[in-house]
Subunit: 253 residues, 2 copies
Protein backbone atom coordinates (compact mmCIF):
# COMPACT_ATOMS: atom_id res chain seq x y z
CA UNK A 1 0.00 0.00 0.00
CA UNK A 2 1.22 3.47 -0.78
CA UNK A 3 1.83 6.26 1.64
CA UNK A 4 -1.05 8.63 1.14
CA UNK A 5 -2.72 8.08 4.48
CA UNK A 6 -5.29 10.82 4.02
CA UNK A 7 -6.77 9.12 1.02
CA UNK A 8 -6.51 5.62 2.42
CA UNK A 9 -8.04 6.47 5.77
CA UNK A 10 -10.99 8.42 4.37
CA UNK A 11 -14.55 7.55 5.37
CA UNK A 12 -14.71 5.09 2.45
CA UNK A 13 -12.53 2.87 4.59
CA UNK A 14 -9.92 1.91 2.00
CA UNK A 15 -7.93 0.01 4.58
CA UNK A 16 -9.71 -3.32 4.78
CA UNK A 17 -8.76 -5.93 7.37
CA UNK A 18 -9.83 -9.48 8.14
CA UNK A 19 -10.35 -10.14 11.85
CA UNK A 20 -11.36 -13.14 13.91
CA UNK A 21 -13.90 -11.55 16.27
CA UNK A 22 -17.55 -10.69 15.79
CA UNK A 23 -18.73 -7.58 14.02
CA UNK A 24 -21.93 -5.73 14.95
CA UNK A 25 -23.01 -2.15 15.61
CA UNK A 26 -21.31 -0.74 18.70
CA UNK A 27 -18.86 -3.64 19.06
CA UNK A 28 -15.19 -2.81 19.71
CA UNK A 29 -13.30 -5.18 17.42
CA UNK A 30 -9.89 -6.34 18.52
CA UNK A 31 -6.99 -6.33 16.06
CA UNK A 32 -3.93 -8.53 16.31
CA UNK A 33 -0.49 -7.06 16.97
CA UNK A 34 0.53 -6.90 13.31
CA UNK A 35 -2.66 -5.12 12.35
CA UNK A 36 -2.30 -2.67 15.22
CA UNK A 37 1.29 -1.95 14.22
CA UNK A 38 0.27 -1.52 10.59
CA UNK A 39 -2.47 0.96 11.40
CA UNK A 40 -0.49 2.95 13.97
CA UNK A 41 2.95 3.04 12.43
CA UNK A 42 2.49 2.45 8.71
CA UNK A 43 -0.85 4.11 8.10
CA UNK A 44 -0.49 6.56 11.04
CA UNK A 45 -4.08 6.11 12.09
CA UNK A 46 -5.55 8.73 14.38
CA UNK A 47 -8.84 9.15 16.19
CA UNK A 48 -11.64 9.76 13.69
CA UNK A 49 -10.12 7.65 10.88
CA UNK A 50 -12.24 4.83 9.52
CA UNK A 51 -11.35 1.38 8.26
CA UNK A 52 -13.28 -1.56 6.87
CA UNK A 53 -13.43 -4.92 8.61
CA UNK A 54 -14.74 -8.35 7.72
CA UNK A 55 -14.58 -11.74 9.42
CA UNK A 56 -16.09 -14.16 6.92
CA UNK A 57 -19.41 -14.26 8.81
CA UNK A 58 -20.87 -10.82 9.45
CA UNK A 59 -20.39 -8.93 6.19
CA UNK A 60 -18.26 -5.81 5.96
CA UNK A 61 -18.31 -3.08 8.60
CA UNK A 62 -17.00 0.43 8.82
CA UNK A 63 -15.17 0.95 12.10
CA UNK A 64 -14.02 4.26 13.55
CA UNK A 65 -10.76 4.78 15.39
CA UNK A 66 -11.83 6.24 18.74
CA UNK A 67 -8.52 6.34 20.56
CA UNK A 68 -4.86 5.66 19.88
CA UNK A 69 -1.82 5.28 22.09
CA UNK A 70 1.73 4.25 21.27
CA UNK A 71 0.88 0.57 21.20
CA UNK A 72 -2.84 0.24 20.99
CA UNK A 73 -5.82 1.52 19.18
CA UNK A 74 -9.50 1.37 20.03
CA UNK A 75 -12.11 0.89 17.35
CA UNK A 76 -15.87 0.89 17.32
CA UNK A 77 -18.08 -0.63 14.63
CA UNK A 78 -20.33 2.01 13.11
CA UNK A 79 -22.32 0.45 10.30
CA UNK A 80 -22.48 -2.48 7.95
CA UNK A 81 -21.27 -1.58 4.48
CA UNK A 82 -21.49 -4.95 2.75
CA UNK A 83 -23.54 -8.12 3.03
CA UNK A 84 -21.93 -11.41 3.82
CA UNK A 85 -21.68 -13.61 0.75
CA UNK A 86 -19.78 -16.70 -0.27
CA UNK A 87 -17.75 -17.15 -3.43
CA UNK A 88 -18.94 -19.81 -5.90
CA UNK A 89 -18.36 -23.43 -4.93
CA UNK A 90 -15.01 -23.95 -6.65
CA UNK A 91 -12.02 -25.75 -5.16
CA UNK A 92 -8.44 -25.76 -6.39
CA UNK A 93 -6.32 -28.88 -5.80
CA UNK A 94 -2.75 -28.21 -6.91
CA UNK A 95 0.63 -29.88 -6.74
CA UNK A 96 2.85 -27.66 -4.55
CA UNK A 97 5.30 -25.39 -6.35
CA UNK A 98 8.23 -23.27 -5.23
CA UNK A 99 7.80 -20.46 -2.74
CA UNK A 100 7.48 -17.40 -4.97
CA UNK A 101 5.15 -18.94 -7.56
CA UNK A 102 3.17 -20.53 -4.71
CA UNK A 103 2.67 -17.14 -3.03
CA UNK A 104 1.56 -15.77 -6.35
CA UNK A 105 -0.81 -18.66 -7.00
CA UNK A 106 -2.52 -18.31 -3.64
CA UNK A 107 -2.88 -14.56 -4.10
CA UNK A 108 -4.32 -14.86 -7.62
CA UNK A 109 -6.58 -17.82 -6.81
CA UNK A 110 -8.03 -15.82 -3.92
CA UNK A 111 -8.70 -12.82 -6.16
CA UNK A 112 -10.26 -15.15 -8.71
CA UNK A 113 -12.71 -16.36 -6.08
CA UNK A 114 -11.65 -19.87 -5.11
CA UNK A 115 -13.29 -21.37 -2.02
CA UNK A 116 -10.85 -24.11 -1.00
CA UNK A 117 -7.10 -24.51 -1.63
CA UNK A 118 -5.93 -28.12 -1.41
CA UNK A 119 -2.19 -28.80 -1.84
CA UNK A 120 -1.91 -32.23 -3.43
CA UNK A 121 1.27 -34.31 -3.36
CA UNK A 122 1.98 -36.25 -6.56
CA UNK A 123 4.84 -38.51 -7.60
CA UNK A 124 6.52 -35.85 -9.67
CA UNK A 125 6.02 -33.11 -7.10
CA UNK A 126 9.45 -31.66 -6.41
CA UNK A 127 8.48 -29.39 -3.53
CA UNK A 128 8.22 -31.51 -0.41
CA UNK A 129 6.98 -28.98 2.12
CA UNK A 130 3.87 -26.88 2.20
CA UNK A 131 3.70 -23.94 4.55
CA UNK A 132 -0.02 -23.75 5.28
CA UNK A 133 0.40 -20.75 7.59
CA UNK A 134 2.09 -18.84 4.79
CA UNK A 135 -0.67 -19.87 2.36
CA UNK A 136 -3.25 -18.57 4.80
CA UNK A 137 -1.42 -15.26 5.34
CA UNK A 138 -1.27 -14.73 1.57
CA UNK A 139 -4.92 -15.68 1.20
CA UNK A 140 -5.97 -13.22 3.93
CA UNK A 141 -4.02 -10.37 2.35
CA UNK A 142 -5.50 -11.08 -1.08
CA UNK A 143 -9.01 -11.40 0.38
CA UNK A 144 -8.58 -8.01 2.08
CA UNK A 145 -7.47 -6.36 -1.15
CA UNK A 146 -9.95 -8.03 -3.46
CA UNK A 147 -13.07 -7.11 -1.51
CA UNK A 148 -13.97 -10.73 -0.75
CA UNK A 149 -16.15 -11.36 2.29
CA UNK A 150 -14.40 -14.68 2.99
CA UNK A 151 -10.89 -16.08 3.08
CA UNK A 152 -10.41 -19.30 1.13
CA UNK A 153 -10.01 -22.40 3.26
CA UNK A 154 -6.33 -23.40 3.17
CA UNK A 155 -6.11 -27.15 3.73
CA UNK A 156 -3.10 -29.15 4.73
CA UNK A 157 -1.34 -31.19 2.03
CA UNK A 158 -2.69 -34.63 1.12
CA UNK A 159 -1.48 -37.24 -1.32
CA UNK A 160 -3.26 -37.39 -4.66
CA UNK A 161 -4.64 -40.79 -3.68
CA UNK A 162 -6.25 -39.34 -0.55
CA UNK A 163 -7.63 -36.33 -2.38
CA UNK A 164 -9.23 -38.63 -4.95
CA UNK A 165 -10.53 -41.10 -2.36
CA UNK A 166 -12.20 -38.30 -0.39
CA UNK A 167 -13.54 -36.42 -3.42
CA UNK A 168 -17.26 -35.69 -2.88
CA UNK A 169 -19.59 -37.62 -5.14
CA UNK A 170 -21.51 -34.57 -6.29
CA UNK A 171 -18.43 -32.47 -7.11
CA UNK A 172 -17.06 -32.40 -10.65
CA UNK A 173 -13.28 -32.90 -10.76
CA UNK A 174 -11.92 -30.86 -13.66
CA UNK A 175 -8.57 -32.34 -14.41
CA UNK A 176 -6.07 -30.50 -16.61
CA UNK A 177 -4.59 -33.42 -18.52
CA UNK A 178 -1.56 -32.47 -20.56
CA UNK A 179 -1.27 -35.86 -22.18
CA UNK A 180 -4.66 -35.52 -23.58
CA UNK A 181 -7.14 -36.01 -26.31
CA UNK A 182 -9.49 -34.24 -23.89
CA UNK A 183 -11.86 -31.39 -24.83
CA UNK A 184 -11.00 -27.75 -24.27
CA UNK A 185 -11.92 -26.55 -20.79
CA UNK A 186 -14.47 -24.02 -22.04
CA UNK A 187 -16.25 -26.65 -24.13
CA UNK A 188 -16.30 -29.13 -21.25
CA UNK A 189 -17.72 -26.43 -18.96
CA UNK A 190 -20.48 -25.53 -21.40
CA UNK A 191 -21.53 -29.20 -21.32
CA UNK A 192 -21.82 -29.36 -17.53
CA UNK A 193 -24.99 -29.05 -15.50
CA UNK A 194 -25.58 -25.59 -14.08
CA UNK A 195 -24.45 -24.91 -10.50
CA UNK A 196 -22.44 -28.09 -10.20
CA UNK A 197 -19.94 -27.83 -7.32
CA UNK A 198 -16.55 -28.14 -8.94
CA UNK A 199 -12.86 -28.53 -8.30
CA UNK A 200 -9.86 -28.00 -10.54
CA UNK A 201 -6.92 -30.37 -10.27
CA UNK A 202 -3.59 -29.10 -11.56
CA UNK A 203 -0.54 -31.37 -11.70
CA UNK A 204 3.12 -30.67 -11.09
CA UNK A 205 5.55 -29.26 -13.69
CA UNK A 206 6.29 -32.74 -15.02
CA UNK A 207 2.62 -33.70 -15.21
CA UNK A 208 0.92 -36.66 -13.55
CA UNK A 209 2.51 -40.05 -14.04
CA UNK A 210 0.55 -42.72 -15.93
CA UNK A 211 -0.62 -44.52 -12.78
CA UNK A 212 -1.88 -41.24 -11.35
CA UNK A 213 -3.76 -40.42 -14.53
CA UNK A 214 -5.47 -43.81 -14.31
CA UNK A 215 -6.52 -43.16 -10.71
CA UNK A 216 -7.93 -39.76 -11.60
CA UNK A 217 -9.66 -40.90 -14.76
CA UNK A 218 -11.29 -43.79 -12.89
CA UNK A 219 -13.21 -41.33 -10.72
CA UNK A 220 -16.72 -41.00 -12.20
CA UNK A 221 -16.76 -37.26 -11.42
CA UNK A 222 -13.52 -36.62 -13.32
CA UNK A 223 -13.65 -34.51 -16.47
CA UNK A 224 -10.31 -34.33 -18.30
CA UNK A 225 -9.70 -31.09 -20.18
CA UNK A 226 -6.89 -29.32 -22.01
CA UNK A 227 -5.84 -25.68 -22.09
CA UNK A 228 -4.47 -25.24 -25.61
CA UNK A 229 -1.30 -26.70 -27.07
CA UNK A 230 1.36 -24.46 -25.54
CA UNK A 231 3.04 -25.73 -22.40
CA UNK A 232 1.74 -23.79 -19.40
CA UNK A 233 3.49 -23.69 -16.05
CA UNK A 234 1.38 -25.20 -13.29
CA UNK A 235 0.48 -21.82 -11.81
CA UNK A 236 -0.45 -20.36 -15.20
CA UNK A 237 -2.71 -23.33 -15.89
CA UNK A 238 -4.40 -22.93 -12.50
CA UNK A 239 -5.10 -19.22 -12.97
CA UNK A 240 -6.28 -19.63 -16.55
CA UNK A 241 -8.65 -22.43 -15.54
CA UNK A 242 -10.04 -20.46 -12.58
CA UNK A 243 -10.70 -17.41 -14.77
CA UNK A 244 -12.45 -19.49 -17.42
CA UNK A 245 -14.57 -21.32 -14.84
CA UNK A 246 -15.63 -18.02 -13.25
CA UNK A 247 -16.56 -16.72 -16.69
CA UNK A 248 -18.78 -19.68 -17.52
CA UNK A 249 -20.18 -20.91 -14.19
CA UNK A 250 -18.98 -18.50 -11.53
CA UNK A 251 -20.29 -15.25 -10.17
CA UNK A 252 -18.67 -13.11 -12.83
CA UNK A 253 -21.87 -13.21 -14.85
CA UNK B 1 15.59 -26.48 -14.95
CA UNK B 2 16.59 -29.39 -12.82
CA UNK B 3 19.86 -31.21 -12.80
CA UNK B 4 19.18 -34.47 -14.57
CA UNK B 5 21.27 -33.77 -17.64
CA UNK B 6 20.80 -37.21 -19.13
CA UNK B 7 17.08 -36.79 -19.34
CA UNK B 8 17.20 -33.18 -20.43
CA UNK B 9 19.75 -33.75 -23.16
CA UNK B 10 18.05 -36.81 -24.68
CA UNK B 11 17.23 -36.94 -28.40
CA UNK B 12 13.85 -35.35 -27.65
CA UNK B 13 15.81 -32.14 -27.20
CA UNK B 14 14.26 -30.95 -23.94
CA UNK B 15 16.61 -27.99 -23.79
CA UNK B 16 14.98 -25.48 -26.09
CA UNK B 17 16.70 -22.23 -26.99
CA UNK B 18 15.78 -19.16 -29.01
CA UNK B 19 18.57 -17.94 -31.31
CA UNK B 20 18.96 -15.08 -33.75
CA UNK B 21 20.56 -16.89 -36.70
CA UNK B 22 19.05 -18.98 -39.45
CA UNK B 23 18.10 -22.63 -39.03
CA UNK B 24 18.31 -25.18 -41.83
CA UNK B 25 19.67 -28.70 -42.33
CA UNK B 26 23.46 -28.77 -41.98
CA UNK B 27 23.73 -25.22 -40.64
CA UNK B 28 25.95 -24.61 -37.60
CA UNK B 29 23.90 -22.30 -35.40
CA UNK B 30 25.77 -19.88 -33.19
CA UNK B 31 24.73 -19.44 -29.56
CA UNK B 32 25.38 -16.35 -27.48
CA UNK B 33 27.75 -16.43 -24.51
CA UNK B 34 25.05 -17.01 -21.92
CA UNK B 35 23.59 -19.91 -23.86
CA UNK B 36 27.03 -21.44 -24.37
CA UNK B 37 27.76 -21.12 -20.66
CA UNK B 38 24.38 -22.63 -19.78
CA UNK B 39 24.87 -25.65 -22.01
CA UNK B 40 28.50 -26.27 -21.08
CA UNK B 41 28.52 -25.54 -17.38
CA UNK B 42 24.92 -25.94 -16.18
CA UNK B 43 23.69 -28.70 -18.46
CA UNK B 44 27.18 -30.20 -19.00
CA UNK B 45 26.56 -30.76 -22.68
CA UNK B 46 28.86 -33.16 -24.46
CA UNK B 47 29.31 -34.27 -28.05
CA UNK B 48 26.30 -36.28 -29.19
CA UNK B 49 23.74 -34.43 -27.03
CA UNK B 50 20.83 -32.82 -28.79
CA UNK B 51 18.94 -29.62 -28.15
CA UNK B 52 16.00 -27.85 -29.77
CA UNK B 53 16.35 -24.45 -31.40
CA UNK B 54 13.93 -21.91 -32.85
CA UNK B 55 14.34 -18.39 -34.17
CA UNK B 56 10.79 -17.19 -34.82
CA UNK B 57 11.12 -17.79 -38.59
CA UNK B 58 12.26 -21.32 -39.44
CA UNK B 59 10.26 -23.59 -37.14
CA UNK B 60 11.92 -25.79 -34.55
CA UNK B 61 15.09 -27.76 -35.24
CA UNK B 62 16.95 -30.51 -33.48
CA UNK B 63 20.65 -29.69 -33.29
CA UNK B 64 23.44 -32.04 -32.30
CA UNK B 65 26.43 -31.03 -30.22
CA UNK B 66 29.40 -32.04 -32.39
CA UNK B 67 32.27 -30.65 -30.34
CA UNK B 68 32.84 -28.96 -27.02
CA UNK B 69 35.77 -27.15 -25.49
CA UNK B 70 36.09 -25.21 -22.25
CA UNK B 71 34.49 -22.10 -23.71
CA UNK B 72 32.76 -23.08 -26.89
CA UNK B 73 30.50 -25.61 -28.36
CA UNK B 74 29.79 -26.51 -31.97
CA UNK B 75 26.32 -27.51 -33.09
CA UNK B 76 24.87 -28.76 -36.32
CA UNK B 77 21.19 -28.66 -37.30
CA UNK B 78 19.92 -32.16 -38.00
CA UNK B 79 16.24 -31.99 -38.77
CA UNK B 80 13.17 -29.84 -38.43
CA UNK B 81 10.92 -30.99 -35.58
CA UNK B 82 8.21 -28.32 -35.67
CA UNK B 83 6.61 -26.04 -38.24
CA UNK B 84 6.82 -22.31 -37.88
CA UNK B 85 3.53 -20.85 -36.72
CA UNK B 86 2.34 -17.59 -35.26
CA UNK B 87 0.23 -17.15 -32.15
CA UNK B 88 -3.24 -15.63 -32.58
CA UNK B 89 -3.39 -11.90 -33.28
CA UNK B 90 -3.78 -10.68 -29.71
CA UNK B 91 -1.97 -7.71 -28.18
CA UNK B 92 -1.69 -6.76 -24.53
CA UNK B 93 -1.41 -3.08 -23.62
CA UNK B 94 -0.79 -2.72 -19.90
CA UNK B 95 0.09 -0.03 -17.40
CA UNK B 96 3.55 -0.88 -16.02
CA UNK B 97 3.69 -2.51 -12.61
CA UNK B 98 6.47 -3.25 -10.14
CA UNK B 99 9.40 -5.47 -11.09
CA UNK B 100 8.36 -8.86 -9.70
CA UNK B 101 4.73 -8.76 -10.85
CA UNK B 102 5.92 -7.36 -14.19
CA UNK B 103 8.31 -10.29 -14.69
CA UNK B 104 5.47 -12.61 -13.85
CA UNK B 105 3.06 -10.87 -16.19
CA UNK B 106 5.44 -11.05 -19.14
CA UNK B 107 6.14 -14.72 -18.47
CA UNK B 108 2.46 -15.67 -18.15
CA UNK B 109 1.32 -13.53 -21.08
CA UNK B 110 3.93 -15.24 -23.25
CA UNK B 111 2.74 -18.69 -22.17
CA UNK B 112 -0.84 -17.60 -22.84
CA UNK B 113 0.12 -16.77 -26.41
CA UNK B 114 0.18 -12.97 -26.66
CA UNK B 115 1.73 -11.51 -29.82
CA UNK B 116 2.62 -7.96 -28.73
CA UNK B 117 3.35 -6.47 -25.29
CA UNK B 118 2.79 -2.71 -25.15
CA UNK B 119 3.60 -0.94 -21.87
CA UNK B 120 1.20 1.98 -21.60
CA UNK B 121 1.77 4.96 -19.32
CA UNK B 122 -1.37 6.32 -17.64
CA UNK B 123 -1.95 9.14 -15.17
CA UNK B 124 -2.21 6.81 -12.21
CA UNK B 125 0.73 4.65 -13.24
CA UNK B 126 3.11 4.62 -10.29
CA UNK B 127 5.99 2.80 -11.97
CA UNK B 128 7.87 5.33 -14.08
CA UNK B 129 10.43 3.12 -15.80
CA UNK B 130 10.03 0.17 -18.07
CA UNK B 131 12.98 -2.10 -18.70
CA UNK B 132 12.26 -3.36 -22.21
CA UNK B 133 15.40 -5.50 -22.27
CA UNK B 134 14.27 -7.28 -19.15
CA UNK B 135 10.80 -7.76 -20.61
CA UNK B 136 12.35 -9.30 -23.69
CA UNK B 137 14.61 -11.62 -21.68
CA UNK B 138 11.59 -12.86 -19.71
CA UNK B 139 9.57 -13.27 -22.89
CA UNK B 140 12.35 -15.30 -24.53
CA UNK B 141 12.67 -17.60 -21.55
CA UNK B 142 8.92 -18.16 -21.39
CA UNK B 143 8.74 -18.75 -25.16
CA UNK B 144 11.50 -21.37 -24.85
CA UNK B 145 9.69 -23.19 -22.07
CA UNK B 146 6.19 -22.96 -23.50
CA UNK B 147 7.00 -24.44 -26.90
CA UNK B 148 6.10 -21.24 -28.77
CA UNK B 149 7.70 -20.74 -32.17
CA UNK B 150 7.87 -16.97 -31.69
CA UNK B 151 8.81 -14.49 -28.99
CA UNK B 152 6.23 -11.78 -28.34
CA UNK B 153 7.18 -8.35 -29.62
CA UNK B 154 8.16 -6.23 -26.61
CA UNK B 155 7.47 -2.59 -27.47
CA UNK B 156 8.81 0.45 -25.72
CA UNK B 157 6.47 2.35 -23.39
CA UNK B 158 4.03 4.87 -24.85
CA UNK B 159 1.51 7.17 -23.23
CA UNK B 160 -2.09 6.02 -23.28
CA UNK B 161 -2.91 8.90 -25.62
CA UNK B 162 -0.33 7.68 -28.14
CA UNK B 163 -1.44 4.05 -27.88
CA UNK B 164 -5.03 5.10 -28.55
CA UNK B 165 -4.10 7.49 -31.37
CA UNK B 166 -2.10 4.77 -33.13
CA UNK B 167 -4.61 1.96 -32.52
CA UNK B 168 -5.30 0.16 -35.82
CA UNK B 169 -8.77 0.71 -37.22
CA UNK B 170 -9.46 -2.98 -37.70
CA UNK B 171 -8.31 -4.07 -34.22
CA UNK B 172 -10.83 -4.42 -31.41
CA UNK B 173 -9.66 -2.73 -28.19
CA UNK B 174 -10.96 -4.75 -25.26
CA UNK B 175 -10.84 -2.43 -22.33
CA UNK B 176 -11.18 -3.74 -18.78
CA UNK B 177 -13.25 -0.98 -17.23
CA UNK B 178 -13.54 -1.27 -13.48
CA UNK B 179 -15.95 1.61 -13.20
CA UNK B 180 -18.35 -0.10 -15.43
CA UNK B 181 -21.79 -1.08 -16.39
CA UNK B 182 -20.01 -2.97 -19.17
CA UNK B 183 -20.76 -6.58 -20.18
CA UNK B 184 -18.75 -9.53 -18.94
CA UNK B 185 -15.68 -10.20 -21.08
CA UNK B 186 -16.88 -13.63 -22.18
CA UNK B 187 -20.25 -12.26 -23.31
CA UNK B 188 -18.59 -9.39 -25.20
CA UNK B 189 -16.27 -11.87 -26.91
CA UNK B 190 -19.11 -14.12 -27.99
CA UNK B 191 -20.67 -11.07 -29.69
CA UNK B 192 -17.56 -10.24 -31.70
CA UNK B 193 -16.90 -11.15 -35.32
CA UNK B 194 -14.73 -14.23 -35.77
CA UNK B 195 -11.00 -13.73 -36.31
CA UNK B 196 -11.03 -10.06 -35.37
CA UNK B 197 -7.52 -8.88 -34.46
CA UNK B 198 -7.74 -7.80 -30.86
CA UNK B 199 -5.91 -6.07 -28.06
CA UNK B 200 -6.54 -6.04 -24.33
CA UNK B 201 -5.99 -2.82 -22.40
CA UNK B 202 -5.42 -3.16 -18.66
CA UNK B 203 -5.14 -0.09 -16.46
CA UNK B 204 -2.99 0.61 -13.41
CA UNK B 205 -3.86 -0.42 -9.85
CA UNK B 206 -5.87 2.76 -9.28
CA UNK B 207 -7.75 2.38 -12.57
CA UNK B 208 -7.96 4.87 -15.43
CA UNK B 209 -8.90 8.42 -14.54
CA UNK B 210 -12.18 9.82 -15.93
CA UNK B 211 -10.49 11.75 -18.75
CA UNK B 212 -8.64 8.61 -19.83
CA UNK B 213 -11.83 6.57 -19.81
CA UNK B 214 -13.40 9.17 -22.09
CA UNK B 215 -10.48 8.98 -24.52
CA UNK B 216 -10.65 5.19 -24.63
CA UNK B 217 -14.42 5.01 -24.91
CA UNK B 218 -14.38 7.51 -27.77
CA UNK B 219 -12.41 5.06 -29.91
CA UNK B 220 -14.91 3.27 -32.18
CA UNK B 221 -13.00 -0.02 -31.80
CA UNK B 222 -13.21 0.09 -27.99
CA UNK B 223 -15.28 -2.56 -26.23
CA UNK B 224 -15.53 -1.98 -22.46
CA UNK B 225 -15.83 -5.15 -20.39
CA UNK B 226 -15.78 -6.24 -16.75
CA UNK B 227 -14.22 -9.25 -15.05
CA UNK B 228 -16.59 -9.93 -12.16
CA UNK B 229 -17.13 -7.83 -9.05
CA UNK B 230 -14.05 -8.70 -7.00
CA UNK B 231 -11.12 -6.30 -7.26
CA UNK B 232 -8.38 -7.89 -9.36
CA UNK B 233 -4.79 -6.71 -9.37
CA UNK B 234 -3.72 -5.44 -12.77
CA UNK B 235 -1.65 -8.55 -13.53
CA UNK B 236 -4.45 -10.90 -12.46
CA UNK B 237 -6.89 -9.07 -14.71
CA UNK B 238 -4.48 -9.29 -17.65
CA UNK B 239 -3.91 -13.03 -17.27
CA UNK B 240 -7.58 -13.80 -16.72
CA UNK B 241 -8.54 -11.80 -19.81
CA UNK B 242 -5.86 -13.45 -21.97
CA UNK B 243 -6.99 -16.94 -20.91
CA UNK B 244 -10.63 -16.17 -21.62
CA UNK B 245 -9.82 -14.64 -25.02
CA UNK B 246 -7.74 -17.70 -25.97
CA UNK B 247 -10.63 -19.92 -24.92
CA UNK B 248 -13.17 -18.12 -27.07
CA UNK B 249 -11.23 -16.77 -30.07
CA UNK B 250 -7.66 -18.02 -29.77
CA UNK B 251 -5.92 -21.17 -30.85
CA UNK B 252 -6.90 -23.16 -27.75
CA UNK B 253 -9.90 -24.56 -29.60
Amino acid sequence: MSGNTDELMEPGGKVRLFIAGDLAAGVSPRLDDDQTHYLLHVMRAKAGDRISLFNGRDGEWLAKVVETSKRSLALVCEKQTGFQREVPDLWLAFAPIKKTPADYLVQKATELGVRVLQPTMTRRTIVGRVNVERMRANAIEAAEQSGRMTVPECRGPLTLEKVIAAWPQNRVLIFCDEAGDAPMLIDALLDMPENAPAGLLIGPEGGFDPAERDIIRALPQAVPVVLGHRILRADTAALAALAIWQSVWGDWR
